[in-house]
């Protein structure tokens, strides 16, 4: 294929690719090959992928082409390539969750998300980089080296799902799946100029998703447009009997809502506690402009107060480590992954301790100890117990806010992408990146980040967050799609097209 042909395929939306493939204008194999060539070309610099499944992806694409040629029914995203965060199991494909402790492990089963991707006809290109066990906001905590932001290779792509966001931003895949425990889909979306959605808790199966914090973890779509995110959301969402927290209801009509794109008469709330002080000037400026656009489009905008959001970050950094310290107990060097120090003399506890010391990175060790502390006798009530009460107050703040308005808005992140190393030595400074995204995870409702422009002072992407009530995921697609259309109309193109060539 010509370089121009390859370029046009990798620049296409998922929606356009799906239509072209099913119409026979292009084969799934040609689309997959174009993306694999793009990965081979740019990923040495970006490092979005931990594993590229050249052979497997081509085989999946060829199988789709055979089905189409035979006139058999195919899924709604037949032949569309997708990048998978390395936290989901996929049979026979190395799955590490960004940790050395799982290096070389090949799962014997598919996750619920992989099942759904296969049903939809997606072609899984490979596994994307992430902070180890999804603990981080920059991918600097990956056991396999960081991913670089396609907008500026000296800067972080966000985290933990920086690999998924960078893969989509760098045109290595039109779609990616991420997971969001405290912002790990939305914050990378914001700093890479892409769209990222955390669905309602229970909206997408957690079966086969390597658990970080089970009451917070949620898988969701990463894309370059709101419509593409909706298509992937619809494909991966829905009930899975193998996840006891999976919601046994149909996925809200997110695709229909993305088509609707009409905010007239809608009531939008701006969260007072998630604006102003602490937010970079260019972030606040673009946010205010986006709000003004929504007002011009016919939405009613009011300010609302969620006073307990101020305590959400503190509660999160007790609840998450507590759940993580328990979930990560399974990495004991006995059943899968790394085993260290098994010299025939050491006992099982010594081998476990040596294995976990060798296999876990710095941030994981830190959070495991924090969680162990918060759950230990004498401290439980003051830390974990109090954090659970704050969680109730945060959920109550959302409930009161959604009594007044249909959706809530805030900037997704306080700043644009920062440089590598800037926040590594100070864990609390790193944690502050998620200050606006965490409340939604605590309450279990849904939120989207979409690009709204570049900060004038550094020319880097800014994200806007739309928060909606649980199981009202369609609302954020409606608002996001309307805002995106207005911005594209203003700019004449999607923001991602302003990213420098790699």
């Amino acid at each position: 294929m010509s370089a121009d042909g390859q370029r046009s395929l990798t620049r296409s939306t998922a929606a356009a690719l799906a239509a072209a493939i099913v119409a026979g204008d292009v084969t799934a194999l040609e689309v997959t090959n174009a993306h694999l060539a793009r990965i081979d070309e740019v990923d040495p610099a970006v490092h979005a992928f931990l594993y590229i499944d050249h052979e497997g992806a081509r085989a999946q694409a060829a199988a789709i082409d055979a089905k189409i040629a035979a006139g058999e029914p195919v899924g709604p995203l037949a032949g569309v390539p997708v990048a998978l965060k390395d936290i989901f199991t996929q049979v026979g494909i190395p799955t590490t969750a960004g940790s050395r402790i799982l290096e070389g492990w090949r799962p014997p089963y598919d996750s619920g998300v992989v099942d759904r991707l296969r049903e939809a006809g997606c072609v899984i290109l490979g596994k994307t980089n992430m902070d180890e066990f999804a603990m981080g906001s920059s991918t600097e905590h990956s056991g396999y080296g960081p991913t670089h932001n396609p907008w500026d290779l000296e800067r972080i792509p966000g985290g933990s799902g920086g690999g998924s966001a960078a893969a989509v931003a760098a045109y290595e895949a039109p779609l990616a799946v991420g997971t969001d425990t405290g912002g790990s889909i939305r914050q990378p979306g914001a700093v890479t100029g892409t769209v990222g959605v955390k669905p309602t808790y229970g909206g997408v199966s957690r079966y086969g998703l390597i658990a970080l914090a089970s009451s917070l973890d949620q898988a969701g779509p990463v894309a370059r447009t709101v419509m593409d995110a909706a298509l992937l959301h619809a494909a991966i969402g829905g009930h899975d009997a193998r996840d006891s927290t999976s919601i046994a209801q149909p996925v809200p009509d997110v695709v229909g809502a993305a088509h609707k794109a009409d905010v007239r008469g809608l009531k939008i709330g701006l969260v007072r506690q998630l604006m102003g002080e602490g937010y970079q000037a260019g972030v606040s400026q673009r946010f205010d402009e986006a709000v003004e656009i929504l007002r011009e489009l016919g939405a009613e905008v009011v300010e609302v107060s969620c006073p307990n959001f101020e305590y959400a970050l503190a509660a999160y950094y007790l609840i998450l480590p507590s759940e993580a310290s328990s979930n990560l107990a399974r990495f004991d060097g006995m059943r899968f992954g790394l085993r260290a120090g098994d010299d025939g003399d050491a006992n099982v506890e010594q081998v476990m301790s040596a294995t976990r010391a060798a296999g876990f990175g710095d941030e994981v060790k830190r959070r495991i100890m924090l969680g162990t502390y918060a759950l230990s006798s004498g401290y439980y009530d003051a830390y974990y117990g109090q954090a659970q009460k704050v969680r109730t107050l945060v959920a109550n703040d959302f409930a009161a806010a959604f009594d007044q308005v249909d959706v809530l808005l805030s900037p997704t992140t306080p700043t644009t992408a920062f440089k590598f190393g800037e926040k590594l030595a100070d864990p609390v400074a790193m944690y502050l990146n998620d200050i606006a995204t965490i409340p939604v995870n605590l309450a279990g409702n849904c939120a989207m980040s979409l690009p709204i422009g570049l900060a004038p002072e550094d020319g880097l992407p800014v994200g806007l967050q739309i928060m909606a009530p649980a199981m009202a995921d369609d609302r954020m697609y409606n608002v996001g799609s309307a805002l995106e259309a207005a911005l594209v109309n203003r700019w004449g193109h999607h923001l991602i097209e302003e990213a420098p060539a790699l």
């Binding site: 927290t245 503190a314 098994d342 060790k365 100890m369």
Partner: protein
């Protein structure tokens, strides 16, 4: 305010032992400092949430989930043991459990 450090390296060593992680002396010192810093930041949860506020452990009301009592295929021992660090006689091979003295 390092003079107010409330987490000692001994405490970190205790936590590391509870969590089954062998830490170096450098790690013990660094984590004592960092955990202290983090705990100061998160102790704010004590400022709100009085006794009458119920604790929330999960976003959904948790109910038991039943399924039909039918046999579904599971994984073969071979598939499961393929990922094990050590296997023997169709079982996980593990280090000795007891100290043999």
């Amino acid at each position: 305010m390092s003079s107010q450090t409330s987490i000692s390296t001994e405490q970190v060593a205790h936590l590391a032992n509870l969590a089954r992680m062998t830490l170096t002396d450098d790690e013990l010192t660094r984590y004592a400092d960092q955990l202290d810093h983090i705990l100061h930041a998160v102790a704010r949860v004590g400022e709100v949430a009085a006794d009458e506020v119920p604790a929330m452990s999960h976003p959904q009301p948790m109910v038991n989930v039943w399924r039909e009592d039918v046999v579904t295929p599971g994984l073969s021992a071979e598939d499961v043991l393929a990922g094990a660090p050590a296997a023997e006689d169709e079982r996980f091979r593990v280090p000795r459990i007891l100290d043999g003295e």
